[in-house]
């Protein structure tokens, strides 16, 4: 990631923590990281750069600081845009992903690998080439694509694949369709690297990646919506954004049991059960989480009386002691998530 990529993720009002952004990209899904990811509207970044080294955003942040684009908050880790940074952000035509709202429902990286290899395999098949170097991918992708290919192999496969890919890409901006296509590998087309495309399009390699992910999401979404060759290949890469374990805790909650009962039955610590619920609350739409069962009307009223002003400024330890004694941090955090999801304006 370069300075320009980080610039696009910052805000002029909200201080954002560099470590949170880094942990989202690296898929370090602690409740705190997810909560702040939600507050920053950056949850779509989860797991997009699993191999990003720790501290990889420090250098871009320093560069932004040297150029006077950011100001630092209470701790050096908290940054937001300066007026100059805001102007710079407004001036650049940084790529805005179109499909990011649904990214958490798909294992994007796996889908990307599968689509790339499938395109190569079908392209070579279309040109009757039997011996070629396949893209280097993990075993799971190779096996999935091989199984799929033998299931769907037919005289019309390449035509059908072409038609559905074209249809999907037409839903996206022209520039995105170009990038996604240029990254494909196939018969007599090695494909360009993100670096090469970035240079040509005068964008950053990270933007090129975001464009490609838009393509992946569009293709996967269309394949789910109607039956076409890629449908079978991509069926198994859809997933819930919530971990399996958290889903189980949530389901148990739905059966009307208390947190302590669930923890005992599932042999997990009550604190873990709480984390599961917070994770689910953050990652699921509001109507898929039983807020009403946990946050009683009294509780909400009591919180509402003391928690005013921007959500980001709320502090558990700043609440009256009596309230803290009555409600654990868990309820405080869940209330904040609920308010956030309701779109309560940060007064």
């Amino acid at each position: 990631m370069e300075a320009a990529d980080l610039l696009a993720l910052l805000d002029q009002q909200q201080f954002r923590r560099l470590r949170v952004i880094e942990n989202l990209l690296r898929e370090r899904k602690t409740v705190s990281t997810l909560y702040w990811g939600q507050r920053y509207h950056l949850l779509y970044l989860v797991g997009l750069a699993k191999k990003l080294p720790r501290g990889a955003l420090d250098a871009p942040a320093r560069e932004l600081q040297q150029r006077g684009f950011i100001t630092v908050g209470e701790t050096p880790d908290q940054i937001r845009l300066s007026p100059a940074g805001q102007a710079a952000q407004a001036q650049t035509r940084y790529y805005q992903p179109q499909t990011q709202a649904t990214w958490s429902q798909l294992d994007l990286m796996a889908a990307r690998q599968r689509i790339l290899l499938a395109v190569q395999v079908v392209s070579q098949y279309a040109h009757s080439t039997k011996r070629y170097y396949p893209l280097t991918t993990d075993l799971e992708t190779r096996q999935a694509v091989r199984r799929w290919f033998y299931q769907v192999k037919s005289a019309r496969l390449s035509e059908q694949t072409f038609v559905s890919l074209q249809k999907s890409l037409e839903q996206l901006p022209e520039a995105t369709a170009s990038v996604v296509t240029a990254l494909f590998t196939g018969y007599q087309q090695p494909g360009l690297t993100a670096e090469q495309l970035a240079r040509e399009q005068q964008r950053t390699p990270w933007e090129i990646t975001l464009m490609q992910l838009d393509g992946v999401m569009q293709i996967a979404g269309d394949a789910q919506a109607e039956d076409q060759p890629l449908t079978r290949l991509l069926r198994s890469v859809w997933r819930s954004p919530v971990t399996r374990s958290a889903q189980q805790t949530l389901a148990a909650m739905g059966q009307g049991r208390s947190l302590e009962q669930i923890a005992a039955a599932r042999r997990i610590k009550p604190s873990t059960a709480r984390e599961h619920l917070l994770e689910a609350a953050i990652l699921l739409p509001r109507d898929q989480f039983p807020y009403d069962w946990i946050l009683t009307p009294t509780m909400r009223q009591e919180f509402a009386n003391v928690l005013t002003g921007p959500i980001d400024d709320w502090q558990y330890t700043a609440m009256p002691q009596a309230l803290q004694d009555r409600y654990a941090f868990f309820y405080f955090r869940l209330y904040a998530i609920w308010c956030d999801k309701r779109g309560v304006e940060d007064a």
């Binding site: 075993l139 890919l165 090695p190 040509e200």
Partner: protein, 473 residues
């Protein structure tokens, strides 16, 4: 009774005749002789163990040092029609490794990194296999890399004993007498040696001295601008390969890309394939590039940095002119260039004092330091302090000797080829005008037919995506 070798060759590969060295190596192996095959790059070393594996039962286990290359090798096996091939190394994911281990007995060809094989659990699994042949690929790494970077290579001798001394094929493109002896000693074997000359008469050798770094950049740009591609420029640093690729592209208009181990496997794949498909004129590479590249018409190889030894230099210039056509290897040298390989060599080398303190109190040191990790490795394998100190000082002497040899080449006033071949204990032909240009003389690129004929088309650009998509299918 086995069918004749040539019959198998014809059946499997469709060739009528062996390239030189292949048949001799196979014959020696089939007579039960461990074999050290010193065959130049492009001589078809892989075919030797492929054909052996085809003709004999049991698993062929190939130990290969380059992780990034291993998957390529497996792909090449698949391309050649050998489906039962797999690779296990530190890049292999846990689930993939489990999957391979479950079917270990089914593989005909198994590629493995030395560090993987050195793990006791892995070794125990391998012991259960019926090994037909053990192959040590890039065997010169035993000598070149062993003590500095890949201590596991030093264990290969012991591992070989634990595997009951299976029939062993050692493969390398370049090894002088000393290196050959060292390989044999490390592997506890008395192999039959099958060697072909490292000389490549169609590669013109050239050394050019420049004043300093800016002048070197300028000369490189000039050469790349003038010469007929495709070409490869080697660097010792990833960053410099990347930066220079960009500036060469801007200044010469040639289609240039960088290639190094820091790229993702997808990018490495694409760059390699672009180069093979003539969509690139120049690759700015580190030593990660090369092994496994089948491109016959590389016209020039330029070294921007001084290689650490002749073995690597010979390997790298060997990528040029595999089609037998006139090609050139140019080494750019500015005085002081030897500092870089010296520094790289010393980076992992602990001082005698440190070794002493480490052995006195190992728990006081952090193994995150590469040099300490190396000491810890030796200590765990029961190598004494004195032996380690001796190992490092001997290694340093060897490195210095190898570097001095490179410098002598750079300063050679008469015949570079003579100097080069001498390092591999070979006789050289009489010096002629089309042989080489030592420092101070410039090669006549026009005479050699190496000047660019016509400007190449611009980089494959993003045209209409619909047309592009249509071409794919």
């Amino acid at each position: 009774m086995l069918e004749p070798l040539t019959t198998s060759l014809e059946k499997v590969f469709g060739f009528n005749t062996f390239r030189s060295g292949q048949a001799a190596a196979l014959t020696a192996l089939e007579a039960g002789q461990d074999t050290l095959a010193v065959l130049p790059t492009g001589a078809g070393k892989t075919l030797i163990y492929q054909l052996y594996g085809y003709r004999h039962p049991g698993c062929v286990l190939i130990i290969s040092p380059l992780l990034s290359l291993m998957n390529d090798q497996v792909n090449r096996m698949h391309m050649a029609g050998f489906r039962r091939a797999a690779a296990i190394n530190s890049l292999t994911s846990y689930s993939e490794r489990q999957e391979i281990l479950r079917h270990l007995g089914d593989y005909q060809f198994l590629f493995m990194s030395p560090e993987m094989l050195a793990q006791p659990q892995m070794l125990a699994q391998i012991k259960q296999l019926q090994l037909g042949l053990l192959v040590i690929d890039e065997a010169h790494c035993i000598v070149q890399w062993g003590p500095d970077f890949r201590p596991e290579y030093l264990l290969l001798g012991a591992i070989r004993s634990q595997l009951q001394q299976p029939l062993t094929l050692m493969l390398t493109a370049t090894a002088g007498q000393t290196t050959r002896q060292e390989i044999a000693k490390q592997l506890r074997s008395q192999p039959q040696i099958v060697a072909e000359s490292v000389d490549r008469p169609n590669i013109f050798l050239d050394v050019e001295h420049v004043e300093n770094e800016p002048e070197k950049q300028e000369r490189l740009t000039q050469l790349v601008g003038q010469m007929q591609g495709p070409g490869v420029v080697y660097f010792s640093s990833k960053q410099q390969a990347t930066d220079t690729a960009l500036s060469l592209q801007q200044q010469t208009g040639a289609r240039v890309a960088a290639y190094h181990a820091g790229l993702s496997s997808e990018d490495r794949f694409k760059i390699q394939q672009q180069f093979m498909a003539d969509q690139l004129d120049v690759i700015c590479a580190t030593s990660a590039f090369g092994m496994g590249i089948d491109k016959n018409d590389v016209r020039y190889v330029i070294h921007y940095h001084l290689p650490a030894d002749f073995e690597s230099y010979a390997q790298e210039i060997g990528r040029a002119g595999r089609d037998g056509q006139q090609s050139i290897a140019i080494l750019l040298y500015a005085s002081g260039d030897e500092q870089l390989p010296l520094m790289l060599g010393q980076a992992n080398r602990p001082e005698a004092e440190t070794i002493h303190r480490y052995y006195a109190r190992p728990q006081a040191f952090s193994e995150e330091d590469a040099a300490i990790a190396l000491l810890a490795f030796y200590r765990r394998h029961g190598i004494s302090e004195a032996a380690v100190i001796q190992l490092f000082s001997r290694r340093e002497r060897e490195r210095n000797r190898a570097l001095a040899q490179m410098l002598a080449y750079v300063r050679e006033p008469h015949c570079l080829r003579h100097n080069w071949l001498q390092a591999f204990d070979e006789q050289s032909p009489e010096h002629q005008a089309d042989c080489c240009a030592p420092a101070g003389m410039s090669p006549d690129l026009a005479q050699l037919g190496l000047l660019a004929k016509a400007k190449t088309a611009p980089v494959d650009s993003v045209d209409d995506w619909r047309a592009r998509l249509h071409r794919l299918f």
